[in-house]
Amino acid sequence: MLEVRDLSMRFGGLLAVDRVSLDVQEHEIVSIIGPNGAGKTTVFNCMSGFYRPSGGKILFEDREIQGTPDYKISRLGLVRTFQHVRLFSRMTVVENLLVAQHRHLNTNLFSGLIKTPNYRLREQKSLDRAAYWLNRVGLLDMANRDAGNLAYGQQRRLEIARCMVTEPKLLMLDEPAAGLNPAETRELNQLIISLKEDYHVSVVLIEHDMSLVMEISDRINVINQGRPLASGTPDEIRHNDDVIKAYLGEA
């Protein structure tokens, strides 16, 4: 469903990403790994419309999306998170999920003012969806707290819930396990697998936590210094000499 072909991104004299290709099929978890500064997040930024790539193509469901504004990309069903939590911290937990459904409520100001039956119905639906996902990530009790007051692990789960209420087809998670303790990481594992199994969402993952990557990925792409190094199943990657060298240095 997603295909990245020869993606390049140049910042002045620095070629941050050099002809990276990858693809994601439906119903699949694909990881991007690589040492720090390898260009993983830059690839994400190009895919989510944050950057306009200097070269190459990004196809989402056979549509070229490189250079499309980010809000349009997310409306196509391609939603991402960031390395650091970016919740609306001064809004309540449930408001975070409601505002993410803004476009589903896309009625005009007038029908909002007089609250037409159709508007009420949609508002109710988005509230139901928010409640469902809060329950799913175990935050229903917290619905009316300010998002900024949640514990870190809860904030990360809320971010994933916020992506899910937009009903994405493809979820891009940038280091979702960063800063989580082992127990929280295991919970996250279960959640990501369930997103694929139960909600039929494909996931692209950037992650440093190798146990997480190896356990849940269907395929892995390794990037080193902006260039593609290897790609394959977790087993293939584990035994790939180039990958071992890149991670551990020359023996």
Binding site: Y71, V79, F82, S89, M91, L98, V99, H102, R103, T166
Partner: protein
Amino acid sequence: MLDSYFLQQLINGLTIGSAYALIAIGYTMVYGIIGMINFAHGEIYMIGAYTSLIVISGLAALGIAWLPVVLIVALLGAVIVSSSMGWAVERVAYRPVRGRHRLIPLISAIGMSIFLQNYVHLAQGSRNMGFPTLMEGGFTFGDAGSFQTSLSYIQITIFVITLICMAALSVFIARSKTGRACRAVSQDLGMSSLLGINTNRIIATTFVIGAALAAVAGLLLGMYYGSIDPLFGFIAGLKAFTAAVLGGIGSIPGAMLGGLILGVSESMTSGYLSGEYKDVVSFGLLILILLFKPTGLLGKPEVEKI
């Protein structure tokens, strides 16, 4: 017992202050969302006053003089014209330069302000124009012979309309879908965009709302002062900006509070010191606030997380 002279100053101050607050909301909302000061906002307010004057004169020429109709039609006309102006200012002076260095939109907004001021000079002439008060009289309290406190109908109208506008705005921001999106965009524009919110539209909406409130203030203060001129928006804009900073720029309740404080302190100065000192006091307040509480009374301190 309250001194009736003091009470009079308080009433005058709250009247002028609530109108300042209406204008200040426009500054604070735009700042809250894009982090920039809309320096053309005072001109939008002035255009609101001119538009309502034109509408009122037009209705008078048609022989319509029933007060509620005149007031509502004038309000509607001013709101529509000023809102479109607010929208146009965002489109012409802000959107093309958004994301550049902060000075660039500032300069383009000042340019816009000069343009609008001079346009009105040309179109309407630079002399004062009398503004019909529409309603005369009021209530007076206190015994005849000593100082009497008066509360005019126009002051009551200003209070009531301002209260309605503020209540409506608060409900809109807290409850409506668009209001929710406004809050989200003001907290994290990039993330809102990634969640599929059309941030350009939300930004334009805040300019339009701010302009609409300024237009209401234009009509109210036009009636209160009884005359308007093309420079009418300049000083009011500065005052409202001061009010917004006083209350904490970016905070809507802050703008309301800042407006009231500024209005009261001005009228107290005119009442007990001298009218000439009132601008000294209001801008002195601005300096003090910037020195001792730069985030304003209700503004939240920016804590950078590292």
